[in-house]
Symmetry: C2
Subunit: 480 residues, 2 copies
């Protein structure tokens, strides 16, 4: 049970392939395109000039720096980067932006009440509409692939929809219309806490048992541009035996496995009280850690946790702007990188959607707590936002090199924020000063998705998003 | 010795007053204009609709919500905010953006070496060119007033220029061409450390004695749109007796007085070793604290420092994006606000120029270290970026109310980042999600400076900035 890897080239309207349908050539049914970038960031982390990127179908077949632009090639004016990967998303949280900032002292758990009230209001139509516009915001920000950590499965009170995967399918359809790749991390959520049953909104998250979770997940349809992965919500929400089943299921299918870990100290306290172990050590004992597994947040690690994560080859997804917003704190990103954990990034609650801000925050928040600079080189930060994220989502993308999926985003080098860039220091300028607002183009699998800041499929994305957010808030019974 | 307060209305070309010269009316030499904003943020922190803002000369004379747009008024499409105040700037540091990110572990002091190398390369022409483009970047970001903490006074080796204020005048001219207000915080800098003479680039900062500093400063010419203030670089760079003289000079003239305090722990250690006091306590003993004084950073406070700052009515300027970049750490912003310190914000080293990012970082960095949310309400964060900064720079601006200077910036409410805003929660959306890229217009003293994202006086600002940065780096002997 694994979705098709490549995006569905056949379904892409010709007008979105290259700048002009007449320019593309088609041999034996495979479309060939050439893109010529003023500059491009190429492995292993160098910026080169006049780069010709040749694409067949949805994959890059050749990358040539210092090349002339052949007739019929499409110019990319600016800096071409690999399409960005947003490795951790809860799409419906986008409706909380600007709406869940407290007027008085509070914490993560009071925020969660607000988020649950929103979750209670969702249905498949609303989730589709909100996710589609949120994914389109991602496309405008240069994001080619999203990892959707999806736990909102069932109807009010936990009653399954007629199609028990109606919510997951809404997310898949949303990504298809937004024209970005999705890895649907279907999330197992079985209890409210170590000793607590599901309650309130949580009833909509639960399948009752890991067997029922597996049965439902295996009925998810295959979709072009989509992959299926698994997630364990957290050590709070899934018992150890069930975790082991989810992990084995993912490993058997070579599907990505993600898990929230130690986002808040209360989770560590509860886990230690219930099991005598830290959350990371419990995951280790349950067989969850390892290559193919991504620990999300990993903020409040205990002694030994870093080594357990590094030694097992577990990847780490940091969500710095959410970790700031939700007062999670600053984790041990640098130590985790040192022991060999692959780092990647997610916009999580979508307080902002800007992978450049996430990338620099990874370094800057380390600086705040260590009073030292230079923990992660700019190239490593950009790697976390591209190839690192693509890897944990199961996509053969994130680098502009032959054989990879042809995902590119383009940055406007005329941006006031980047003024003063030089080829030599461009990675640093991008990592520390670029913003989502500087993205002009996104190409996913050789298909132009955003061109000159316009989403070719959906048009006026702010309007779509405003409408979806308004509907979601109205449905949750509060009007802003 | 104080510059004129109002901007020079007479010098503004008519084409920049309102949308069309024919629309303005002039009675007895005072130009009257009316601006009609779709929405405006009005004291004491409410967003109102259809707001008519009437201006005579450079001041607001009436603000009327729920008003029709009279014939001849200029529409402001979006949210009108007071023009932003950037209370702490070293303009020439802009050339370091993307160029001073370390490839390996390092700290503030190694960054300072790089900054000193750049300082060594500056001359009045180059400083003018770089500051003009940097201030124009600020204008594009909605910033109506800058506080320039100016210590680079003299030529190589400390030789005064023929005009000993050539560098300060370059900054004043730069702000005039960028069409924003400037408070020139002319900085006294007399020694390299508690027991160390000036050396290297520092020789260019020093006047030799506080008497010579005063004599030079008093020769600065008066300029429209500019005010003169004083600064003490730090307790490291100025002895106690001299600090007292600078403070008395500022108080006598009711001029703003700013001072860097406890940005790095090394300063505290050196101060305690030399004087037995924390930097804040030393400033207190020297008579520096008080209303009219602004402590910049105040990151590493010692017991009793918060009360000394609060009790004296000293304001605090936080520079969160620089404090992240330079690994300064997170200070006690919340405690300082609780004891009554006025907070304001600066982009300091210009790693980024985005007062919205500074505003939210003030709250978010507190969340990171306290693991709690809701320290500062969104309205307080916007207040720090507007009226708080204007107050410490000596400008009667920062609120859209009658009698205040007519400084406004306008945010594009069609921005994807703000999609989903509501009137009720708009302050939160702006504080937590807006960016400099969302600013469409800036009006300073009733004069349109940026319109539809274009600087009316300077045109292609990124190009000007790129040229200035390239010249500065070339002059400092390193090519990027």
């Amino acid at each position: 049970m694994r979705y098709h890897d490549p995006t569905d080239v056949a379904s892409a309207p010709d007008r979105d392939r290259g700048g002009d349908v007449a320019l593309g050539s088609s041999v034996a049914g495979v479309t060939t395109e050439a893109w010529h970038a003023d500059l491009a960031w190429l492995p292993p982390g160098q910026v080169r000039e006049r780069v010709l990127i040749e694409v067949e179908g949805d994959r890059i077949v050749a990358v040539t720096p210092d090349a002339a632009a052949p007739p019929g090639s499409h110019r990319l004016s600016g800096l071409a980067l690999p399409g960005l990967a947003n490795a951790h998303s809860h799409a419906f949280h986008r409706a909380l932006r600007g709406w869940a900032q407290p007027a008085a002292a509070s914490d993560f758990w009071t925020w969660r009440e607000r988020m649950y009230a929103l979750a209670e209001a969702m249905d498949p139509d609303l989730l589709f509409e909100l996710a589609r516009a949120t994914y389109a915001e991602m496309a405008l920000a240069g994001i080619a692939a999203v990892g959707e950590f999806h736990y909102l499965h069932h109807g009010p009170g936990g009653r399954p929809y007629a199609d028990p995967n109606a919510m997951g399918e809404a997310l898949l359809a949303a990504a298809a219309e937004a024209r970005i790749r999705i890895t649907l991390l279907d999330t197992c959520y079985l209890r409210g806490g170590f000793e607590a049953p599901l309650e309130g909104a949580q009833c909509r998250f639960g399948d009752g048992s890991v067997a029922a979770w597996r049965e439902r997940v295996e009925r998810l349809p295959s979709r072009p541009g989509a992959q299926l992965g698994a997630a364990i919500h957290s050590v709070r929400a899934v018992d150890e035996a069930s975790m082991t089943v989810v992990a084995a299921w993912a490993r058997e299918r070579r599907a990505p496995l993600h898990v929230h870990v130690s986002e808040q100290p209360a989770e560590n306290r509860a886990c230690r009280l219930a099991t005598g172990l830290s959350p990371v050590r419990l995951l280790e004992r349950a067989g969850v850690l390892g290559a193919g597994t991504t620990a999300v947040h990993a903020t409040h690690l205990e002694p030994g946790d870093v080594d357990a994560l590094g030694g097992s080859g577990t990847a780490i997804c940091l969500c710095p702007t959410t970790e700031r917003d939700l007062a999670d704190g600053v984790g041990a990103a640098t130590e985790l990188a040192v022991v060999g954990c692959q780092l990647c990034l997610g916009s999580d609650s979508h307080a902002v959607i800007d992978l450049f801000e996430e990338a620099r925050a990874l370094e800057l928040d380390q600086r705040l707590v260590t009073l030292r600079r230079g923990h992660h080189r700019p190239e490593q930060l950009l790697g976390a936002a591209t190839v690192g994220g693509m890897a944990v989502l199961g996509w053969d993308a994130g680098e502009l090199s032959p054989g990879r999926l042809a995902d590119l985003c383009v940055l406007d080098l005329g941006s006031i924020r980047l003024a003063g860039w030089t080829t030599q220091h461009l990675a640093a300028s991008v990592a520390f000063a670029a913003t989502a607002a500087d993205v002009t183009d996104l190409i996913v699998g050789g298909r132009w998705v955003v061109r000159d800041r316009r989403h070719l499929g959906l048009g006026d994305v702010p309007k779509l998003l405003a409408r979806a957010v308004a509907r979601a808030r109205a449905a949750s019974g509060e009007r802003g």
